[in-house]
């Protein structure tokens, strides 16, 4: 189809390469976008905010974050869930994270507990510990 007497025409090679590049870029975009990071960011931010709203002062909540941790990888876990003012910010790697406010005025602390050490590096629990205090 693309051959003349000399074989493939350079324009046709460029055409094939451009198509290939286009579809590879699109495929990578889809794979990267459908891993659920954005959805999990939103779901966890809202879930944590609701848990804080519902908790009476002097309550400790443990939240299983295994699904989020799989997407987050080995980055610093202290950056994954942050309490900023009266909002919960969850960052799994999509454009700076998502924030959802809670209406509780109690003091809130959310962190992953260190449960040990491996090769000099801290090992953290898969549970997020949320402390709601007066």
């Amino acid at each position: 189809m693309f051959k003349n007497k000399r074989g493939l025409l350079p324009e046709e090679i460029i055409f094939l390469l451009l198509n290939l590049v286009f579809f590879v870029v699109m495929l990578l975009f889809i794979i990267n976008s459908t891993n659920g990071k954005a959805v999990y960011e939103q779901a966890y931010a809202k879930q944590i905010a609701l848990l804080i709203d519902e908790a009476k002062p002097d309550t400790t909540i443990l939240l299983d974050m295994q699904n989020a941790l799989k997407l987050y990888g080995n980055k610093d876990r202290r950056e994954m869930v942050k309490i900023i003012g009266s909002g919960v910010k969850v960052t799994l790697g999509v454009s700076g994270g998502r924030v959802y406010n809670f209406f509780s005025s109690a003091n809130v602390k959310a962190e992953f507990m260190q449960i040990g050490e491996e090769n000099g590096k801290p090992v953290y629990s898969k549970y997020l510990t949320i402390d709601v205090t007066k």
Partner: protein, 188 residues
């Protein structure tokens, strides 16, 4: 269209790039729509706000006497963020919450409704708790009614409403009516 063209012109035409752009745009729009889909928890949030107030001022079916006196600070006593809840704002910066509560004597309500087990839209008059009885964006009450009937009204708030039968220290029968609404959206 490409019949009389030779070599690369046949393939690298403007139309082919147009087709690629249309495909790319379609994929991007679909992915953004999927990722941007909102998990709506407004009604749940409003329900939790009501539960927080009830848990705070009602104990074993008895209403806190201080709550019925002027000067009771619901925000301080119930650990609620006052600035966030009372904020009204305007336009895009409009507040996210609404909270209102009234306490009535049972005989000031339509008793027949209550005896028949009706727990919504009770008709009562002359609330006995002091003002202010509502905080936040008052317009949420009407907008919540609209969002109940118009499922496509995603930008509208959702509310939760409850009527609770309580007693005061003199065993007076009271109706505690609460409405809360939320229109909070996730922020990036």
């Amino acid at each position: 269209m490409i019949a009389n063209k030779k070599g690369g012109e046949k393939y690298l035409s403007i139309w082919w790039f147009f087709v690629l752009i249309v495909i790319a745009a379609g994929i991007v729009v679909a992915v953004i729509a999927f990722n941007g889909a909102d998990v709506n928890i407004k009604e749940l949030e409003a329900d939790i706000l009501i539960t927080r107030v009830v848990d705070c001022v009602v104990d074993n079916g008895y209403i806190n006497e201080e709550f019925l006196k002027p000067g009771f600070d619901i925000f301080q006593n119930c650990y609620l963020n006052k600035e966030l809840i009372i904020y009204q704002g305007e336009g895009k910066n409009r507040g996210d919450y609404y909270l209102a509560y009234e306490v009535y004597e049972l005989d000031k309500c339509n008793n027949d409704d209550f005896r028949l087990g009706k727990t919504t839209n009770l008709e009562c008059e002359n609330p006995i708790n002091p003002e202010p009885r509502s905080f936040g964006v008052a317009n949420f009450v009407n907008e919540c009614k609209l969002s109940k009937v118009m499922k496509e009204a995603r930008e509208y708030p959702l509310c939760s409403e409850r009527y609770i039968y309580v007693l005061d220290k003199d065993n007076r029968k009271l109706i505690f009516h609460l409405i809360a609404g939320s229109n909070q959206k996730i922020k990036s």
